[in-house]
Amino acid sequence: MTAPDRVAAAAQARPATAAAFFCSEGLHKRFGGVQAVRDISLNIPHGSVFAIIGPNGAGKSTLLNLMSGLYQPDAGRMVFDGVDLVGVPAHKRVRLGLARTFQKIRLFKQLSVLGNVIAAFHVHHDIPAWQYVVHGAAFARDHARCRAEAINLLRFVGLEARASVLAASLAYGEQRMLELARALATSPRLLMLDEPAAGLNAAEVERLLERIRLLRERGMTIIVVEHNMDLVMKISDRVLVMDYGQHLFAGTPAEVQANPSVIAAYLGAMT
């Protein structure tokens, strides 16, 4: 059973509640004087691709960090599949099925590509405690399963040939793909991508688009923070536009493109 199928299976296993899969109300976050995120409410249905766009400094990454638990909100509620997230630290949210990638690539440089992916299986080992010291059958099974799954994930992102190379020596595009593979290794139900297309060339963006489409077909819910409009328009079901930490507009890609206030925010007061 290859990894992406396993991912899809996990997504189906928990019947999505009729209401939003991930919702937040009145989220606020301040750093000293700067109000990075002000009163953001979201409703993300299961199995959809939700894009967050906006000019630099609009608070996109901060919002993503609030969702992933890196920052705790000053105010507001966040609920993921019925579970209240506020106060839950980042590492606990992973067990609930949340995974993320980083805008600034944070790979384990001194580990091999395969090592990076295997490290991400942390929450999915089923080995009795004593077998961590005396490596028994369960350990061997888990060990083999992780390696097989990791290689599948590398194949999924096209890095299988680079498995034993040190992560630090990967090309930029490859590093982006490894970040995606690592996030998938936690078998998430909600995947948050922080500017995955940043620095990629056209061909690499195309490959990324294809991967995201594949994941969506398998029932994965994805939140993308992105500047690459071409990618956003092609892949996302709904788009949230943020400006100065506030909710500017939310709608389908087509509505966003046509909306004057969005254009103004992006292109400056042209009219």
């Binding site: 000293g32 890196l70 920052y71």
Partner: protein
Amino acid sequence: MLTIVLQQGINGIVFGSLYVLVALGLTLIYGVLVQINFAHADIVTIGAFAAYFFTFLFGGNYLVSIGIALMVGAALGWLVNATIFAPLRERGSELLPLIATIGVSILLQNAMLLWFGPIPYAFDSPYSNEVIRLGGGTFITWQNLIIIGVSAVTIALLYAFMKFTMMGKALRAVAQDRETAGLMGINPNQLIMLTFVIASALAGMGGAMLGPILVLTPFAGTSVIVKAFAIVIIGGFGNVEGTIIAGLAVGLVESFATQLVNPGLTDLIVFTLLLLMLAFRPTGLIAEKREENV
């Protein structure tokens, strides 16, 4: 009873400024480089020996020997930065330079032991036993007065240098963000070398002034360096004002601990203070908490 409190206060300030002289160099280096030079106190000891030999072997004037020690410190600072911190900077590892300078500290101390021998040197400047009777039965020696004076002047000069000169502003830019400073046409490596030379020169000069107070053996640095770290952390790594306040505070804690409890326990008290500070305000007295940006 008042004389005792007053006198211990004076002793505390004298010893506080002694610590500030050593800790200042550490804070400067950390402020710009975010690195620790573990051999910093051994530069103080070498400065003290340089001043001693200049005054007693070559019969030089004590005040001139402070200049000599300053230059010796500067030269050592240049050497340590060129051989240890510059090459390691490419590797971008935070801990390797600290570990390398632990090696340098062991090397310097035992090299000094080979050259100068273990027997303590009686380094007395013309001012170390001249006592000034202040009012109310309190006293201070000229040497201690010089220490307070010189460290106050040094702090003022440093403050002015950082605030008003172009070089000072460039230094602060490098401290905030080395890459961007580089983009602005500031050569970070040159400035980092400058910081190192200034910090180590301060240490050398400090050595010349502490010599007549310390028990001058090659191991004089060990007792000072650990307390200097405590002070730099309590004050907030890289924060000059914090270091000054923390240095004076530790000096006062030590003298009053000697008065009320027992000199043997001063280290224990200072380091318990350090650990409590780290638990509740890890970034030190002054510096504000910085959110980890991702």
